[in-house]
């Protein structure tokens, strides 16, 4: 089907995106106030500290000007500034278009806000960022979040509407952040994780769930229908199956945690009725930790 972008469509897009971006910026700014650089020695341009020469240090790293000022020999250390490449992905399937109440954003909206905020943070920190399956090379710079926004709204991204991340070849030592409800069968998710882990890619899983999905707050006779043509399921007495549902949800979460752990990835859960900043900060710190290793 050929989509003819009309003026109204364009206007709608233009008006819809900036709020998303603004929200992401706001989230990112809040988080950024608590994070300052990598605070560790490494390759980079920024001066970090002087340190007394120790045997084994390369001679060309001696800062002669500083050494001349005193009797000890000093080595100049720079802050670690190795730019990592991060591929971001969010679940774009119809099942993400769900919110259980007016005051709660849809899962998709929350996932995209988190993705863009994370991208903003990473770009600010000098990392290179790209959408997983987007085909672009990771890039840095202030324009990246805006480009990501455009890319998110286009369906050109590979697996844009899939609930499972695509398996594309990535260079080693890259980072992958997968944001979605991650309710698909564990096997399919595990396959993806293993695919990237096998390529030496670090990864983080952020599971975004609606409070209704966590609590199953329905009673009585209810006919449930899925959002992705999974079919209907009628339960005569929902309150009677709530515990069983919880058990299944916990099993799913534990399975995800286990898969992540087995390959050295992290897994986090986030509810859409909670503020996104906490989850984002935690995710960001986790990424910093992974980088330190």
């Amino acid at each position: 089907m050929v989509v003819t972008p009309t003026l109204t469509d364009a206007a709608r897009l233009a008006s819809a995106l900036p709020p998303l971006l603004v929200a992401a910026q706001r989230v990112a700014t809040t988080v950024m106030q608590g994070v300052h650089g990598r605070r560790r020695v490494g390759q980079g341009d920024a001066f970090w500290q002087f340190r007394q020469y120790r045997p084994g240090d390369a001679i060309n790293r001696i800062d002669w000007r500083q050494t001349a000022k005193s009797r000890a020999v000093y080595v100049r250390e720079t802050e670690w500034e190795a730019a990592a490449s991060v591929w971001l992905w969010r679940d774009g399937s119809p099942s993400m278009d769900f919110s259980s109440g007016r005051s709660v954003p849809t899962k998709k909206m929350r996932a995209e806000v988190m993705l863009l905020a994370l991208a903003t943070l990473l770009v600010d920190a000098g990392e290179r960022v790209a959408l997983l399956g987007g085909g672009d090379r990771p890039a840095s710079g202030r324009g990246v979040p805006r480009r990501l926004v455009n890319a998110l709204t286009e369906s050109a991204v590979l697996g844009a509407n899939a609930s499972v991340p695509p398996q594309v070849p990535l260079p080693a030592h890259g980072h992958v952040v997968l944001i979605g409800d991650l309710l698909d069968p564990l096997e399919s998710l595990e396959a993806v994780v293993r695919h990237y882990a096998a390529h030496g890619v670090h990864g983080h899983l952020l599971q975004v769930l609606d409070p209704a999905e966590e609590d199953l707050p329905y009673d009585g006779h209810v006919k449930f229908s899925g959002l992705e043509h999974e079919g209907d399921h009628t339960i005569r007495k929902v309150e009677a199956v709530r515990d069983a549902y919880h058990a299944r949800l916990v099993a799913q979460k534990e399975g995800l945690a286990r898969i992540a752990q087995s390959v050295g990835w992290t897994w986090r859960a986030h509810r859409t009725d909670r503020p996104p900043e906490t989850a984002l900060l935690s995710l960001y710190m986790a990424m910093a930790d992974t980088g330190r290793r």
């Binding site: 769900f98 309710l183 449930f224 229908s225 899925g226 005569r236 549902y245 799913q252």
Partner: protein, 939 residues
């Protein structure tokens, strides 16, 4: 037809469907409600989950009950419930309506008509023809109703054309007429009776029963027509008497007297003792007011039997006697004035005085005894007065005999003495029979009346015509002459016992009375003339032109009159004088419908017909159905509104509907043009009088509560007179006025308050209404000081004599007003000028009516230095509170005459003006000068 008290079902077999209710109950319980629809992304986790217990889903109990109610309503609606069901038309064959349309049916007439129409409707449903026969003889101008069997629409037209007649029924004749119709038998006769017994009742009922079956419909005994009897004119008051058919508990009725223009001038209450069928009361009113009463009516009963027309016989006429009060002379009991006064006193209002005093007032007749013989200028003035319609009655005596006096109807024989020696009476003469043309015709002459001395008329051709009474020897005793519109009458003997013993006889009283009656014309009771019909009452007691063909009454009608089609009750006579013939007392005294032959069914006359309730039940079922639909949607989660929002919305709707209902009656008022809010600026010295800054030690200090109650709101006050009815009217009147003030002005008075002149400090109230009653005690000196303080501190005292200006401003003063204000320092009063502030303080008014109209207000003579010239005392007489008093339904408590509701509105406007005047003083007067003031300020 299944009947359950006031409810019946037209198709009761439908109710058998109710048996199905338990089945529906069971089915509903079995059928679970449709599941709620939920879109749920994590359905993958739910797939395969089943609740462990397999209990079926139950419909909630309240929903179950709701649906059962719905089904029940539907079934009941199908069974066609009827409220106040009419019994099936009984009997067989055609329906014969025998309708009592005598005078006694008038109060219940509309109900009877409706009842008859309903019966016709039922006959129509049963395809039975209808015949109609009224029991009272038809009126002369009635269109003869169609006899025989009628089609339903003809029958309805005939029922609507029937009118109650101002004479009694003749049931035997009506049944006889029915039998002559040769109706197919058997027929079903329904007799719509007026509830009164009659002598021919038994026989008529038995004959009607022969036609087939008979059902008698009778009204509640308390609704049977009342009869008002002719009042007796006692000395000062009218004694009214009413009859009822059954002594069924205490009952209170009101009788009102109205004048010939319909204005109500008197009212009295009659109380029936629990078992009595008779109640009496007196109407005690000032003479002038009483003379205006043209008819009496039982309030709320419009029938010829409840109306009594009054004629001259019931009026007290003002009679003047020329002369001095008898005390001036040494032998008061022999004075002519004394005899005249004693003879007339019970029947007339007597004034004694000289010519100027008498002619200054309105007199129907002036009696001139011999010792007050008029001088020549008196004679000229009296002659003028006669020409204009007065009646002068002179009495002969030594002075007249001695003088040359032309103010006599016949030329008197000259001589210094009345020919006493020349007359050759063997013995004192007796009176001859009165001539038929004389006003005295018909009076019986006591045999022992003897005339010893008289003045003699000069024989002439006209003496015979002018002679109204003569002695057995043919000499005239009374001569009369018509002069202009009036009469000059001479009694040829003295008014005392000097010349005859006539003054001692009852005949003297009768003759004087006849003369008093002359003041409206010669034709009086007992005149030998036929009385032509002048005005006739209709069945509802309305006075109108007599129908063509009404017969004149014979001279002896006073004794023989019976209301009949050819002689309906009414006024007979001519324009100058009429005699009233009433129905009350001329028909059999009312009695409750007596025993009926066996086999006669009876029923009550009922106002309400049956009401088909099925559509209401259907509507209720429909509403429940909609409700059920909404509930079903809600249960399935298909309504966008979450439950609590819906609850809030429902609450809002309920509140909105409630408000709409509460507000809607007010719309009527809102549509009336609302006057602009009055200027609220108040003059400092005219503010409601505040309590004294330092309580004077002599003044009992009211409790703070009372002070606060009186002053927190502006309150209109009325003086407690001690007469419970008057006080209640005052309170209701001020309440009604307050209601108007709240609705139309920015004055928002609190509840009116009654004040005791002796105890309460009047200064707390800017406006005090004081109705004058004869029985309230005169205020003590302390109370007078209280009133004085109130007036001096800027309060307004509004006195209402409530007597329609009879005693106010016509030379006389109200005795009660005088008595009550004796101790009070009343400033001089003047009639209110036309351009006074009171006529423009809010509305522009030209006159100030209350319950009555007319007359003037009397206000304090303007004195610019005290209270800025605001009158502290206003005196009116129109019973203002009576006009302001409203019943809860917004209707006036009392009728207002003569202007009706229009006048009541004017009374309210006057009240608004009055209160505005009390609160803002001369503000409106000053506002006229606003331009000048502004100009001066600018300079």
């Amino acid at each position: 037809m299944l009947s359950l008290g006031a409810l019946a079902f037209a198709t009761p077999w439908m109710l058998s469907l109710l048996v199905a209710l338990p089945v529906i109950y069971w089915l509903l319980r079995l059928l679970p409600p449709a599941p709620k629809l939920v879109r749920f992304p994590a359905i993958r986790l739910l797939l395969g989950l089943e609740p462990p217990e397999r209990t079926p889903v139950r419909i909630p109990l309240w929903l179950l009950l709701l649906r059962l109610l719905l089904v029940t309503l539907l079934i009941v609606a199908l069974a066609r419930p009827l409220l106040n069901p009419a019994a099936e038309l009984g009997g067989q064959g055609p329906l014969v309506l025998l309708i009592d349309d005598g005078w006694a049916s008038a109060p219940n007439w509309s109900v009877m008509q409706r009842h008859a129409e309903r019966l016709t409707e039922r006959a129509e449903r049963a395809n039975r023809p209808v015949a109609i026969q009224s029991t009272a003889p038809a009126a002369l101008d009635d269109v003869q109703p169609k006899h025989g069997l009628l089609r339903p629409e003809e029958a309805r037209a005939a029922i609507r054309a029937l009118k109650p007649k101002p004479w009694p029924t003749d049931r035997a004749a009506a049944v006889a007429a029915l039998q002559k119709l040769n109706l197919p038998t058997p027929a079903h006769v329904v007799w719509l009776s007026d509830g009164l017994d009659s002598k021919d009742l038994q026989a008529a009922a038995e004959r009607a029963l022969k036609l087939g079956s008979l059902e008698v419909i009778r009204p509640e005994s308390s609704r049977i027509a009342l009869t008002l009897l002719q009042p007796e004119a006692g000395g000062r008051e009218l004694k009214v008497k009413a009859l009822r058919a059954a002594g069924d508990g205490p009952r209170r009725i009101a009788v009102q007297g109205s004048d010939d223009r319909g204005a109500i001038v008197a009212r009295t209450m009659l109380d029936f003792a629990p078992t009595a069928t008779e109640a009496a009361a007196t109407i005690d009113t000032p003479t002038e007011l009483r003379n205006r009463i043209a008819r009496l009516d039982i309030e709320g009963q419009s029938s010829a039997g409840a109306a009594v027309l009054l004629d001259e016989r019931f009026r007290r006429r003002p009679v003047g006697i020329m002369g001095e009060s008898q005390t001036a002379s040494g032998q008061p009991l022999l004075q002519e004035v004394f005899f005249l006064e004693r003879a007339l006193e019970p029947y007339a209002a007597i004034t004694i005085g000289d010519r100027t005093a008498l002619l200054g007032q309105r007199m129907a007749i002036i009696l001139v005894p011999d010792n007050a013989s008029p001088g020549s200028d008196d004679r000229a003035a009296l002659n003028d007065w006669i020409e204009k319609g007065g009646i002068l009655v002179r009495f002969a005596g030594p002075r007249l005999a001695a003088s040359e006096d032309e103010l006599v109807p016949v030329k008197l024989r000259q001589g210094d003495r009345a020919l006493g020696g020349a007359m050759s009476w063997g013995q004192p003469a007796a009176l001859a029979e009165f001539p038929a043309t004389s006003p005295f015709a018909g009076l019986t002459i006591p045999p022992d009346v003897r005339i010893q001395q008289q003045v003699l008329a000069e024989p002439g051709p006209d003496v015979g015509d002018k002679t109204w009474a003569r002695l057995t020897d043919g000499t005239p005793l009374v001569t009369g002459e018509k002069r202009g519109q009036g009469y000059l009458v001479l009694i040829h003997t003295t008014a005392n016992t000097g010349w005859s013993n006539l003054a001692l006889s009852g005949l003297f009283v009768d003759m004087l009375q006849r003369l008093v009656q002359l003041s409206r014309g010669v034709a009086g009771e007992g005149t030998a003339q036929q009385l032509k019909p002048w005005r006739a009452l209709d069945g509802f007691g309305k006075l109108g032109a007599p129908p063509l063909g009404t017969l004149p009454l014979p001279p002896d009608a006073m004794q023989t009159f019976r209301p009949r089609p050819v002689t309906p009750p009414g006024l007979y006579g001519d324009q100058s004088a009429q005699v009233a013939f009433n129905l009350g007392g001329r028909v059999d005294p009312p009695a409750v419908l007596g025993s009926l032959p066996s086999g006669v069914a009876t029923d009550r006359l009922s106002e309400e017909g049956e009401t088909d309730l099925s559509r209401w039940f259907l509507a209720a079922a429909l509403i429940l159905l909609l409700l059920d639909f909404v509930i079903a949607l809600l249960l399935r989660g298909l309504l966008p509104l979450p439950g609590r929002r819906l609850g809030r919305a429902a609450g809002a709707i309920v509140i909105a509907v409630g408000l709409a209902i509460a507000v809607s009656p007010g719309d009527v008022q809102a549509q009336q043009p609302q006057p602009k809010a009055p200027p609220t600026q108040q003059r400092p010295q005219q503010q409601p009088p505040s309590p004294p800054p330092a309580a004077t030690p002599t003044q009992p200090k009211p409790g703070d509560d009372a002070l606060l109650r009186a002053t927190l709101e502006t309150r209109l006050a009325y003086v407690i007179t001690g007469n419970r009815e008057v006080d209640e009217v005052s309170r209701a009147g001020l309440e009604g006025l307050g209601e108007i003030l709240r609705a139309r002005t920015s004055v928002e008075p609190g509840d009116p308050i009654g004040v005791d002149l002796e105890k309460d400090d009047l200064r707390l109230y800017p406006f005090v209404y004081w109705p004058i009653t004869p029985d309230q005690p005169a205020p003590s000196v302390a109370a007078a000081a209280n009133i004085d303080r109130h007036m001096k501190s800027g309060g307004i005292l509004f006195l209402d004599t409530r007597d329609q200006h009879i005693t106010l401003g016509r030379g006389g003063t109200n005795a009660d007003l005088k008595r009550l204000l004796r101790t009070v320092d009343v400033p001089p009063l003047v009639a209110m000028p036309q351009d006074h502030v009171l006529s423009k303080s809010f509305y522009l008014l030209s006159d100030m009516p209350g319950r009555w109209a007319g007359g003037r207000l009397w206000i304090e003579a303007g004195n610019g230095r005290i209270n800025d010239g605001v009158a502290a005392i206003i005196v009116g007489a129109n019973d203002y509170a009576g006009a302001w008093a409203m019943e809860s339904a917004g209707r006036g408590m009392f009728p207002v005459a003569p202007g009706g509701e229009n006048q009541r509105e004017m009374a309210f406007r006057f009240g608004v003006n009055l209160v505005m005047y009390a609160l803002t003083g001369n503000y409106k007067d000053d506002a006229v000068h606003l331009n000048d003031i502004m100009q001066r300020l600018r300079r």
